[in-house]
Symmetry: C2
Subunit: 160 residues, 2 copies
């Protein structure tokens, strides 16, 4: 039932330094201390710890996570605020994931681009004549292939 900082660190696969840093930054006000002043984590604390690591994964700065933890400890009168906070984070995360999907699309187009270059033995097959600029029609073609149902992951696949 009670866990030391070292045990928690191992279980969450983070360092004790990090846990103490979080505590200093106000993320762990719920952690008890024993007579010797050492931190004593309880099972219920893992709910908070899971939330903290989720918000961290979502890209929130430590300070904002602290704000949320404060709301949690303030009791039922902050239920609405907590809901709104999470809804905002959901929205932000949706946007971030859409951006990453866009990045992924670019990566796949570039893989296809290099697949063509490797097969031709030279990057110039992708350039406009007498330039070092990528032929815009090529990207159009890639987009068309994807729009026509090709798997963008496969399009750039290359066996050597």
């Amino acid at each position: 039932m009670p866990y030391s900082i070292g045990q928690v660190a191992k279980r969450l696969d983070i360092s004790t330094y990090t846990l103490r840093y979080y505590d200093k930054e106000g993320l762990l006000p719920f952690v008890d201390r024993n007579a010797a002043g050492r931190r004593v984590f309880k099972d219920a604390d893992f709910n908070y710890l899971e939330t903290i690591s989720c918000l961290k994964e979502a890209g929130l700065p430590v300070k904002q996570i602290g704000t949320f933890i404060d709301l949690c400890l303030a009791g039922d009168r902050t239920l609405d605020e907590r809901y709104d906070f999470l809804a905002e984070q959901e929205q932000a995360l949706e946007e971030k994931m859409a951006a990453l999907q866009h990045t992924m699309d670019f990566l796949r187009w570039k893989k296809w681009y290099y697949k063509r270059a490797i097969q031709a033995g030279t990057e110039t097959v992708n350039y406009l004549p007498d330039t070092t600029q990528t032929d815009p029609a090529l990207r159009e073609k890639f987009n068309q292939l994807v729009a026509d149902g090709a798997d963008p992951q496969d399009l750039g696949h290359l066996d050597r």
Copy 2:
């Protein structure tokens, strides 16, 4: 056809400081200089700049982006290496997106959790009797609802 650092900064919506920093870190070795020593960007450079911003979006550190740019400037003999580099980034990005989806799932479960709490007027509806620990059966129930085809985005929706 030629662009100043300020024009490029505006077009990419980043600061001139950032562009100079990238240059200092070796990300822009392809940029020309005029007689006065000022950077002169050409149209072809935007291919590189787009790639840089994509890799940045993907979360790559500036140094690794520099490595890739170096490969690009080394000519056709690095085509394979460049392909592999991009394939690795694609893989890493897939993993990151999966992790973010997991984070999103958690956020939506918590929204549902708070929706219940708000409707009951107290968070205790979510706890195991006589504890402050979340009832594990509740999360099971949420997972079940999602597995049964409910939209997790809707499940936590709350009108007030």
